[in-house]
Symmetry: C2
Subunit: 505 residues, 2 copies
């Protein structure tokens, strides 16, 4: 890229402008991170305004006519460049994002950002108080704004499409709806069959595990997986997330339950999967639009691959369990690795998505996705959402939340993001994780044996080479084809679930 | 202000623009805070660039011709407004800052900001390694940049004047030099007289005090003083500081030495003094240039007032000492309050400014101030600075650092700020703290008795009314006159020192 830069001053100018925009967006990310970790309550009002200001400036700068002109000139001048060169990719991806961004007025961006902060604050207060009525007006406004946003992209097939496309390029409401339909067909009988078996005893996880030792053990695990802690760190928050301020500073957050061992441990591994993806992006892409994961789904495939296909595997615990026992001797000395393995893979029809097992998880997502679509379609009012949520759980999982805190208010997404486009990535990620992992195993059948030895390098290298380094140079569809030789399919996931849980149950 | 805003659209437009600039600067402050508290090492390079970007954007927006035009129009339209109305003050102070800002090119602002970040990183690495040679080139560049900055303000009497004026409006190198000369005359004999007395035994402070309990006790003290922790928080850092992201989010940082009780405790009270000043600014000023302390000196007067005139007083410890003993029973049960009081007020010719007692402190500052002037004057090269530093200590205090870590590299200021304008505020603050406190006592002679009872409300109210609420509406000279009825004088400080230490020694 260096050489081309020197020969093409317009590319250099484009990169200078993109770096400035990246820096503003990175500052905004830090403001968000701080808001979710350390900010005192009194900072909330100004923080909302500050985020809106930064969002508006970044948007104004990115949608400046000069950027459009540079992109047009570069496209004309560089038509001969091969599709997958870094330079052609930078121009192509920037153009794609530019064409979307110019459709949204700066005034709307500020208004939306401001409301997100307010709505997040209302949710953070209302959730512990189990007071949906307190957030309802905020959520109604969020729905209005989400619809207003979608309508900046006329010509959609479904009103959710523009929101979905922001997160998962190449996907539409109808495609995802039919994926969920096929998944439900496969998963519901599996869940029913498992529910007819004796329940697994997971009391070994439900003891008292002091916070500091949980955090220390998680820290040790994520470092060994390959998370570079010279370029990252972990803090506590209400709702775990990963965020990036530069390729040299990719952070994760977690929460700890002292009465349940799985929360901090698996959320740490999960967020580490996200973080290693970002840390692995080619340094050449730093501060450009290429330096991001390519979609919500592909991102989630990496968090879920490490959390589930690695972190909940028998091989993983053959290595780590003795260490965990050493950290919690009184709690675990009489618990065998097999008992522990079965406990962390217990399938249960439960209420909380983030605590759900691999088998039921996608049913949680299906409920949310369908509710999003119905709200956007105007078929479901926000005031009726809690009842519809509960009905969704009753139908798909046969259980009903006893409160809105563990029902409709459990996830932060609608309250700080948008209505629409927020959830399909989780299920796309689960499907992709199985397909990527199968491809890695096919290339390197020694991976499970290495995991037994606490060695994650071959797997990490494969992911690095085939996924991480590319940032968002390739679309999810292109990346899946390149990395696995096949288009996205639900088959590897279903086959993984059948094999693993057929053996456990 | 509300009414006037409605009647004057140009003021409304000015405030909208100033809010946007404020938000960018607040984001930069958070990036700084994070850099000094939680940022992993890998984030340093990008962070420097991000800070430079934000600084440049804020500078460009503040120096936009539209702001100059609005200010000119408002000055013409509003000449009839009384000087100390909020509106006239906003226009006046903004104009003053604007006139200074337009003299500095945006390109220089970015370059300076970038170098500050790099130099800070080099210092943070070099100090523990006692490697001045490693930072010398960075500091040489800092000197060049400081001179370049000063030269944007031609017509100065001394090249340090523009740098001093940035921090302490109304002060010049020559004024401060003569203040220091008079102080040396008064202080050196006092220090010599004390040095001829038997040394105070302060071993009670030099025991093992676990970090968590030190932090918990400090937290309790600063909350009782009146620091609103719903609008603030405390984190650990290498070099304590106060920072503000909004009037609702004013944070302090501290460092803890487990082998010395005074460090965390008094630095916490010190930074709390800074923080209460900012928290006490009129909410009407939020996000405008008025919402800042009025000078480095006045700011320091508040930190020192709380740290020394309150926090090292006998009355203060009559209240807090039993609580401190309860926190550290094994360490302090056999130490009387009088022994403790004398220990925390021990006068000693020592090497570290931030650990220095009230009597010798200003001699530490005098050394640094003189070195700054000489470097700017071209009479002292950076490579000769360590030797000059050591010679300064030998002359003023009769002692010499054994390493550059505890010598020329002990303070962060030159490495992340500028050479010039960095230190005079400390001594101005000490002088002002005594003068403000004397005025408060004159108005409310009951304050010492209230402090004995752990009640700081009357004092805080007096400071709030006479100093805090005004932000930077008044210059330091105006504020001193209004609050105390007199111009700045060294007499209250010398009189305080003579009385307090005449009794101790």
């Amino acid at each position: 890229m260096q050489t081309l830069e020197k020969t093409h001053p317009k590319l250099a100018e484009l990169k200078t402008r993109l770096t400035e925009i990246n820096d503003i967006n990175s500052a905004a990310s830090l403001l968000h991170w701080d808001q979710a970790t350390y900010m005192p309550a009194g900072g909330a009002a100004a923080r909302g305004r500050q985020l809106a200001t930064l969002g508006q400036i970044a948007h104004e700068k990115f949608t400046a006519p000069a950027i459009g002109q540079l992109l047009a000139d570069l496209q004309t001048d560089r038509t001969s460049l091969p599709y997958d060169t870094d330079e052609a990719s930078l121009i192509r991806i920037t153009k794609r994002e530019y064409d979307r961004a110019v459709k949204v007025p700066a005034e709307f961006v500020a208004r939306f950002s401001h409301h997100r902060t307010e709505c997040y604050g209302a949710w953070a207060k209302a959730r512990p108080e189990n007071n949906f009525a307190a957030v309802q007006p905020y959520l109604e406004r969020m729905l209005e704004l989400s619809r207003e946003y979608a309508n900046f992209f006329p010509g959609y097939e479904h009103i959710a499409d523009p929101l979905i496309e922001d997160a998962d390029y190449g996907m539409t409401a109808n495609t995802v709806r039919s994926l969920f339909a096929r998944l439900r067909e496969e998963l519901v009988p599996i869940v029913q069959s498992i529910a007819s078996q004796p329940a697994i005893d997971d009391t070994c996880l439900r003891q008292h595990f002091p916070e500091d030792r949980q955090l220390a053990f998680s820290h040790q695990v994520i470092a060994q997986l390959g998370y570079d802690l010279q370029r990252g760190r972990q803090d506590k928050t209400l709702h775990p997330f990963m965020t990036k301020f530069s390729l040299g500073d990719v952070r994760i957050t977690t929460r700890v339950y002292e009465n349940h061992l799985a929360q901090a441990l698996f959320s740490s591994i999960h967020e580490t999967g996200h973080a290693m993806y970002e840390q692995g992006i080619s340094p050449e892409f730093e501060a450009t639009p290429l330096a991001n994961g390519t979609s919500a789904g592909v991102h989630e495939s990496q968090s879920r691959l490490w959390e589930n296909l690695v972190g909940r595997s028998r091989e993983f615990w053959q290595f780590f369990y003795p260490q965990l026992q050493a950290v919690f001797p009184t709690q675990l000395q009489d618990v065998s690795v097999e008992t522990f393995y079965r406990a962390i893979n217990k399938v249960e029809r439960s209420l909380i998505r983030t605590d759900a097992d691999e088998v039921t998880y996608n049913l949680h997502v299906a409920i949310r996705f369908e509710l999003e679509l119905q709200m956007l379609e105007g078929k479901l009012a926000v005031r009726d959402l809690p009842a519809a949520w509960n009905e969704g759980y009753r139908t798909a999982l046969g259980i009903v939340p006893s409160s809105d805190s563990e029902g409709v208010m459990q996830d932060v997404h609608w309250y700080m993001g948008s209505i629409g486009g927020m959830f399909q990535g989780y299920t796309l990620g689960n499907l992709m994780s199985a397909q990527f992992f199968a491809a890695a195993l096919q290339a390197h059948p020694e991976i499970p044996t290495q995991i037994q030895q606490g060695n994650f390098q071959t797997l990490l290298n494969w992911l690095q080479t085939n996924i991480y380094q590319h940032g968002c140079k390739y679309t999810p569809v292109e990346l899946m084809q390149k990395a696995t030789g096949n288009p996205l399919s639900i088959d590897p996931f279903i086959s993984y679930i059948r094999q693993k849980y057929g053996e456990i149950y």
